[in-house]
Amino acid sequence: MMLVRYSLVFLVLFLIQTLLPGFYFGNYSYKPDLFLIFLTYIAVHHDRLAGTLTGFIIGLIMDFTTQAALLGIYAFVKSISGYTLGTFHQYRTIWTLPIKLAFLFLCYLLHFSIFYYVILNGTNATLALGAQLVFFHSFLTLVLVLVSDRFFFDFYLRQN
C-alpha cells in the first residue's frame, strides 16, 4: 500500500517536474529538483537502504527520461544522496533543527556539487559559476523542504 502511494506521488511529481518552468536569476535558469525533495522524504522516514535504492531507481528514471548523453549520472548522485540523507533517519530524534537543516544543506551541496562537476566539466564554465549553481540549487531545495514540512509533508524537522 505504501509502495503504491509513493508511486502515485512520484508520478504526480514527475508531471509537475516536467511541466514546471525554470525561473531566471541572472543569466541562468534555476529549476527545483522535486525528485530530490521526494528522496529526502523517503530517506528521513525510512533508512539508508530505502534511501539508496529509491535514489537509484529515481535516478535511473531521470536518466532515461531527461537525457541520454550522461546516462547514469542521476542514478549515481541520487544513490549517494539517498544514502547520506538516510543518515538523517538515525538521528532524527537527537539532532536539533539547525543541525538538521545544516545536514540537509550539506547533503544537497554534495548532490549538486557532483552533478554540476560532471555537467560543467570540459566546458568554459568558471568555478564561480559552478559554485553559484550548486549553492542556489541547494538553497532552493532546502527552502522547498522547509515549506513542504510546514504546509504539506512531515520531514521530522521540528521533532526531537
Binding site: 533508512d47 539508508r48 537502504l49 539508496t52 535504492l53 535514489g55 537509484f56 535516478g59 535511473l60 536518466d63 548523453a69 550522461l70 546516462l71 547514469g72 549520472i73 542514478a75 549515481f76 544513490s79 549517494i80 544514502y83 538516510g86 562537476y117 560532471v118 555537467i119 566539466n121 570540459g122 566546458t123
Partner: protein, 259 residues
C-alpha cells in the same frame, strides 16, 4: 559468520556500493565529452595516488636497469668499434677498387692472412694461390707502390717476400734521364738507391719507379720517394736515401700484378 549474515548486517553499505558501481558503469559507457573529461580527471587523480608506488618500484628497478644498461653500453661500444673497423675497411676497398679500375695493369686483389716480420726473411701470406693462376716471382703492390714479390705458391695461399727484407733488391729508374739503379731497404721506412752516378742531379721528393728490366715487375710502378742525396768524394756513386711509398705497416689488402 556466514556471508548472508554479513551481507545483511552491511546491507546499507552493500546497497550503496552496488548502486554506485552500477550507475558509474552505465555512466562510463557513454562517450560524451563530459564523460571523457571526468575520465581524464580521474586518471590524473589515480596518477597522483599511485605516484609513491611508482617511485618505490622505480627505486627497486634502478639497480637492475643500471646493470642492463651497462651491458648494453659494452655491447654498443663493441659494435661501434666493429662498425668503425668496417668503415675503414670499406674506405680502403673503395680506394683499391678505384685504383684497380684506373690502373693499366692486370691486378688481382688479395687479403693478407698472416704477416711475419720477425723472421730472417720478412714475409706475408695472402689468400690467393695456384687456383687464381699465381706463380712465383709475381710482383705485389698496394695502391701506393711496390710491396714485394711472391716467393712460393700454394693451392689457395701464397707467400710474399716483402720489400723491407734485407735480401730484397729492385731495379729502378731515377731522375729525368731515367738512370738505372738498385733499390734496397735500410730501416724504418727508408731505403737507398745504389749505382747512380754523382753527376746526375736529383730533386728531393722525386718518385723512383720500377725499371721494367726484370720479368717480375712491369715498368713505371712507384717504389719510393727521394728524401736526400749526398756526394762523397771517396765513392764512385752518390748516396740516395729514399722513403717507401707502400703503406707497409697498415694494410689488409694487396694486389698481385699478373701482367
Amino acid at each position: 559468520m556466514s556471508l548472508i549474515r554479513l551481507a545483511y548486517l552491511y546491507r546499507e553499505v552493500l546497497a550503496l556500493v552496488i548502486t554506485t558501481v552500477t550507475s558509474l558503469f552505465i555512466f562510463f559507457t557513454n562517450s560524451a565529452p563530459a564523460v571523457r573529461a571526468v575520465q581524464a580527471d580521474l586518471a590524473g587523480i589515480t596518477n597522483i595516488i599511485f605516484a609513491p608506488q611508482r617511485w618505490y618500484r622505480n627505486i627497486l628497478s634502478v639497480k637492475e636497469e643500471n646493470r642492463t644498461l651497462q651491458e648494453t653500453v659494452v655491447q654498443l661500444t663493441l659494435l661501434n668499434a666493429k662498425l668503425m673497423q668496417y668503415r675503414t675497411e670499406n674506405e680502403k676497398l673503395r680506394q683499391m677498387l678505384k685504383f684497380a679500375k684506373e690502373s693499366r695493369l692486370d691486378l688481382l686483389p688479395a687479403r693478407i692472412i698472416n704477416q711475419n716480420l720477425m723472421a730472417s726473411v720478412h714475409t706475408l701470406m695472402i689468400d690467393v694461390g695456384k687456383n687464381s693462376g699465381l706463380h712465383a716471382d709475381m710482383g705485389v703492390m698496394d695502391v701506393h707502390g711496390i710491396i714485394g714479390k711472391i716467393i712460393s705458391v700454394g693451392e689457395k695461399a701464397s707467400e710474399v717476400q716483402m720489400i723491407t727484407d734485407k735480401n730484397y733488391k729492385i731495379s729502378v729508374r731515377v731522375g729525368d734521364s731515367r738512370e738505372l739503379g738498385i733499390f734496397s731497404f735500410d730501416q724504418g721506412l727508408l731505403g737507398k738507391i745504389d749505382g747512380i752516378r754523382k753527376t746526375l742531379a736529383l730533386k728531393t721528393g722525386a718518385i723512383v719507379y720500377t725499371s721494367g728490366i726484370s720479368d717480375i715487375y712491369p715498368a713505371d710502378i712507384p717504389v719510393a720517394r727521394i728524401v736526400s742525396t749526398r756526394q762523397d768524394e771517396n765513392k764512385a756513386f752518390q748516396d740516395i736515401s729514399v722513403e717507401l711509398l707502400a703503406d707497409i705497416h697498415n694494410f689488409d689488402f694487396v694486389f698481385v700484378i699478373k701482367k
